[in-house]
């Protein structure tokens, strides 16, 4: 978390940054829908998180058609557009935990197998390889004490810092909040509108560059509104 308190009890925000290192998840790769059904039930939850949520911070070429790797595999390598669309709409942040995500995935695949049992054995043209990542976090030693500090800091953040505080934070904070909003709640200043603006970003469908742009825009809008004489 970015939140901390100084000696006087004032809430301060510690800006953190992170880097990911990807590794194989240690389970066999998948060549068919039937195999996918089996492996989804035993793969590490960390791997599901990687293939759904860490896609945002991974090197990628352009806007992918689908945000999670399972939907991409179904579309591109299994040639099953119906399955890809059903997997593609899954939003992991709307589920309470990763076990629920696993249940939903297994269910979607089961339904598809029931619809077309023979297709469950069709070989995909590329294997699906389960991966996961370790996240190394470090303190940038930058601290913020006011809304003004936050608005000034956001445009200067690295993409990975944006990822850590805005995306990855949902996993750490029970209320599925980003770190900025969680911290703003503790400030004496009136920041509800700012929190709402942050909450209104549909970040799952943005890449990190777009996400940062959206955050910066909110900062600018807030600053402009604050400057309007009353």
């Amino acid at each position: 978390m970015g939140q901390d308190f100084d000696n006087a009890g004032q809430s301060i925000f510690r800006v953190k940054d992170c880097a990911l290192i990807t590794r194989m998840a240690g389970i066999s790769s998948v060549m068919s829908l039937r195999e996918m059904h089996e492996r989804l039930q035993v793969c590490p939850l960390e791997s599901l998180y990687h293939h759904f949520c860490e896609t945002q911070i991974r090197p990628s070429f352009d806007d992918p058609e689908f945000r999670n790797d399972f939907a991409i595999w179904a579309s591109k390598w299994l040639g099953d557009r119906v399955l890809a669309e059903r997997l593609g709409i899954l939003n992991p942040y709307s589920l309470d935990n990763l076990s629920f995500l696993r249940d939903r995935l297994v269910e979607i695949v089961e339904v598809r197998i029931n619809e077309n049992p023979q297709a469950a054995w069709y070989p995909a043209s590329e294997e699906f390889r389960f991966m996961q990542a370790a996240t190394v976090i470090f303190d940038t030693e930058q601290t913020l004490v006011s809304v003004a500090d936050l608005l000034e800091a956001i445009p200067q953040l690295s993409a990975s810092s944006v990822y850590y505080h805005f995306v990855e934070a949902r996993r750490r904070t029970g209320g599925r909040l980003d770190d900025f909003s969680a911290w703003l709640k503790d400030l004496p200043e009136e920041t509800k509108a700012l929190e709402q603006a942050f909450a209104g970003i549909d970040f799952y469908f943005l890449n990190l560059r777009e996400l940062k742009r959206a955050l910066v825009q909110i900062c600018w809008d807030w600053n402009e509104a604050e400057e309007v004489p009353t």
Partner: protein
């Protein structure tokens, strides 16, 4: 030349460089040794030549050792290399004896520094046996496989597996290359140095004089494949593609490459290429010395389209180099080339000489596509395949290993 991170700020920006310095704080003073089999020639040596000084600039005590061997040893390790890439090569007891004795001799020389190091990175199969010869090692040992080992020849892999399974971790360039091993297998793509002699900006007159020096007229569009003379790079296939294209378009082809001291097959392949090119004045076959980095840079910049029609490829740094220079690449549909070349975005993936000829013809008829793809290619490399990303991943890996592989860990 002392290389520091500071000049890279101009390329990647201060945020990226600041991140690296913050990441490296906890690793300050750590002793890191890299071992490979050649100091010149090939992508691994190039990566190590920038990685070591930059690690040092970050406060890490990094060093680079090279194992020494004679021709028979490198014949054996070339067999290992080919075997990992799926070629059915023999593995006799005599070959194993040659390999094991040579590595044992090297171990005598290197043991002290390797056993004392906090992290040891062993690159590719040649020095892999060093681990079992350093029983008192203190640090973490990582085997870094740069080769496309997606379908290794079973006999070769069985032998090598016994040498690498004792490592603390291994690194592969792509998930497809990973093998069943009892330790964590990390994924790190290689990278290029944008400020090296091979990739830095060049004045137009230097490009022109390089062409002049090699008797290459600037009268026609230039196609080029610039990589080691190696059968896996399919140089003969490139010449075939050129000949198909030359029936309908006037173009020139540069086939340029150097040798690596650990590649004894290079001379034979060069001869095959020269035979295939014989009698065609528009094919320019150049054998370049291993330090001809600026020449390679100039030839890539002089080209309209760059080819890397490999049949097997670990990653294909020549592809990255060409893309960084804003060139569309026609690449073999294999290995790491698939990570870099995306049809209609940064170039074309092809499977045959016919496919390569078709795509070259298409591009030469659509110059606007050449410049658009080139721009996209450069941007893509900047984001993903420059040394700063690579260095960050090495630092992250070392921190992850030091902290016992937790999914989330805080660096000091």
């Amino acid at each position: 030349m002392i290389r520091t991170l500071q000049p890279y700020e101009q390329v990647v920006g201060p945020i990226v460089i600041g991140q690296l310095r913050q990441f490296a704080r906890e690793l300050s003073g750590a002793r890191v040794v890299h071992v490979n089999s050649t100091r010149v020639g090939g992508g691994v040596a190039e990566i190590l030549s920038w990685l070591i000084p930059l690690m040092c600039d970050l406060g890490i005590e990094a060093s680079w050792e090279v194992i020494e061997g004679n021709d028979p040893f490198f014949q054996v390790t070339k067999s290992f290399h080919n075997g990992l890439q799926g070629v059915a090569v023999p593995l006799s007891n005599a070959m194993i004896k040659t390999y094991e004795e040579t590595v044992a001799e090297n171990a005598e020389r290197l043991r002290t520094s390797l056993e004392e190091a906090d992290f040891v990175f062993i690159h590719d199969p040649q020095p892999a046996r060093l681990l079992e010869l350093c029983p008192n090692r203190k640090g973490k040992w990582i085997w870094r496989c740069h080769i496309d080992a997606s379908h290794p020849h079973r006999k070769i892999w069985k032998y090598l597996q016994s040498k690498v399974e004792g490592y603390d971790a291994s690194i592969f360039s792509m998930p497809e290359f990973a093998q069943k091993l009892p330790h964590p297998q990390f994924l790190i793509a290689p990278s290029i140095d944008p400020l090296s002699e091979k990739n830095c900006p060049l004045p137009p007159r230097e490009i022109a004089s390089t062409l002049q020096r090699h008797n290459i007229p600037e009268d026609l569009p230039i196609l080029a494949q610039i990589s080691r003379f190696d059968r896996f790079k399919d140089p003969i296939g490139v010449i075939e593609a050129f000949k198909i294209l030359a029936e309908v378009l006037d173009v020139r082809l540069i086939m340029a490459g150097g040798g690596a001291t650990d590649d004894p097959e290079g001379a034979a392949v060069l001869e095959e290429v020269q035979d295939a090119a014989q009698g065609n004045s528009r094919i320019h076959v150049l054998l370049l010395p291993s330090d001809a980095h600026r020449t390679i840079n100039a030839l890539q910049r002089a080209s309209t389209i760059v080819l890397q029609k490999s049949l097997q490829e670990g990653f294909g740094l020549t592809v990255t180099e060409a893309m960084w220079k804003g060139k569309p690449v026609i690449g073999g549909n294999v290995g790491g080339i698939r990570l870099q070349v995306h049809n209609y975005h940064t170039g074309f993936l092809v499977n045959t000489p016919e496919g390569a000829a078709l795509r070259m013809r298409e591009l030469l008829h659509r110059p606007e596509l050449i410049s658009r793809m080139g721009e996209t290619a450069k941007f893509f490399v900047k984001d993903n395949f420059l040394l700063t990303r690579h260095l960050r991943e090495y630092l992250t890996l070392m921190l992850a290993l030091r902290h016992g592989m937790a999914d989330h860990l805080f660096a000091a």
